[in-house]
């Protein structure tokens, strides 16, 4: 049976993209072998399995190799049917895909940029991030999770915001997640982080601060042009 084949995940401890795949696997109770990659010294296995992007996460199920975290999430949901993540209704599924793309493009990359830049560039990126966060705040609409009463695809896709973003705010001295401005999101973050599966699957905060401080410094000291 396909579901009984060996599952392997190549990842990196601080990556939000890898973590979302782990959350999906853990929520569904799927056993997997985790292989930690040094993304600054990529293994031949990683380069062989993801020659196109040379990035983690790389998901291996038997002979099948899949890269790109959102693609992996949908594969996992379609292969292991317990604890379904995507909604059933096609329109709701479209909304989950739309918003996960939106948050990835408009919040993740903008907040990363804000963390890594200085002065006016930092301010500009922070403002764009806040504008985007306003939109996703509106999507919660009084629900406990984006998925409704339980965690769904969109919660997992944007779950990094509950943990990585506050860390990036601290490292980059930006203020994005104002609880007064974003009460629904603040509540959601708490609910998400308190979920037993999520709580047990977060990288250590102090290590994260040190890691992202280093990354941010490297990024901002790169030559321009």
């Amino acid at each position: 049976m396909a579901n009984a084949e060996h599952v392997k995940l190549l990842g990196f401890w601080a990556s939000p993209f890898v973590r979302r795949v782990e959350w999906a696997l853990k929520l569904k109770g799927v056993d997997y072998e985790y292989i930690e990659e040094d993304i600054f010294n990529k293994s031949s296995q990683l380069l062989e399995l993801n020659p196109v992007h040379k990035l983690v996460p790389v998901f291996v199920h038997g002979e099948r190799v899949i890269a790109e975290s959102f693609v992996v999430l949908e594969y996992i949901d379609e292969t292991w049917k317990q604890c379904p993540l995507m909604p059933q209704d096609p329109h709701e599924r479209a909304m989950a895909r739309f918003w996960s793309k939106f948050v990835e493009e408009k919040i993740l990359f903008a907040s990363w940029k804000s963390m890594c830049s200085l002065g006016e560039e930092k301010e500009k990126a922070a403002k764009l991030t806040v504008d985007a966060v306003e939109k996703i705040e509106g999507e919660l609409k009084g629900k406990r999770f984006f998925g409704g009463e339980s965690i769904g695809y969109l919660d997992i896709a944007v779950g990094w915001m509950s943990y990585w973003l506050p860390i990036w705010e601290e490292v980059g001295s930006m203020k994005i997640l104002d609880p007064l401005q974003f009460p629904a999101l603040t509540s959601w973050m708490r609910n998400f982080l308190e979920h037993p599966v999520i709580k047990e699957n977060l990288p250590p905060r102090d290590k994260m601060i040190i890691y992202f401080q280093k990354r941010s410094q490297e990024f901002s000291s790169r030559p321009r042009g």
Binding site: V52, H61, R64, I66, A67, E68, F70, V71, V72, E74, Y75, E78, T79, P90, H91, R93, A94, M95, R97, F98, K101, F102, K135
Partner: protein, 220 residues
């Protein structure tokens, strides 16, 4: 009132992708042409986040982002599926559609808008990505196999718009010597009936692109 409406733009590959999928599945729809230089209240209402085309309206509910729309269409109208059933094959199709949009297309546009001393590097990068794409095609008739699928629809920019961009700008990226397999796919693709019926008029597109390129400071 039509059950299905599409807000689109004649020259947009993203808009045409959606039309291709609807036509392939025989879905009746009302097409509304948007003037992107003067966006309608309808567009701003139904896509307030991005304010872009295409926007699909089905029973009054809007969906934006062409790849999201394509998946919605495939899940809602089951005739002539554009995604395979098998989860792994489906994952591969999604991966390559994403590669087209997130990696290939930006690299191609980067050539057009890069400064002269950056242009060669930009061309090299685009060639690398197109070679990766060509490698995925191998000896298949289409990315989707015997019939066109999600990836072929998503690759409409490569299949048609790129040729127009090359002619309008004088830039040469894809030719038979460099990309024999991709060019074979392009020929097969543009002659495919559902594709042929869903392309903008070539000379109109070239004229439009020429005016865009000359309006900028870009000179190839």
């Amino acid at each position: 009132m039509a059950e299905v409406k599409l807000l689109g733009a004649w020259g947009s590959p993203f808009s045409r992708r959606v039309e291709m999928a609807l036509k392939l599945k025989g879905v009746e729809y009302e097409y509304i042409e948007e003037d992107l230089g003067n966006k309608s209240p309808l567009l701003l209402k139904y896509n307030p986040i991005h304010k872009k085309v295409p926007v699909l309206l089905h029973n009054g509910k809007p969906i934006a982002e062409s790849l999201v729309i394509l998946e919605y269409i495939d899940e809602t109208w089951k005739t002539n599926p554009i995604l395979p059933d098998d989860p792994y094959d489906k994952a591969m199709a999604r991966f390559w559609a994403k590669f087209l949009d997130d990696t290939c297309m930006p690299a191609i546009w980067q050539i057009m808008w890069s400064k002269e001393n950056q242009r060669e590097k930009a061309i090299e990068e685009a060639i690398q990505h197109l070679k990766t794409l060509e490698n995925e095609l191998k000896d298949k008739r289409f990315f989707g196999g015997e019939t066109i699928g999600l990836v072929d629809i998503a690759a409409n920019f490569i299949g048609f718009w790129l040729g127009a961009v090359q002619e309008a700008s004088g830039m040469e990226l894809v030719n038979k010597e460099r990309f024999p397999v991709l060019c074979r796919w392009i020929d097969e693709y543009v002659n495919c009936s559902v594709v042929k019926q869903n392309l903008p008029p070539r000379d109109k597109l070239i004229a439009f692109l020429q005016s865009r390129f000359s309006a900028s400071s870009w000179k190839y």
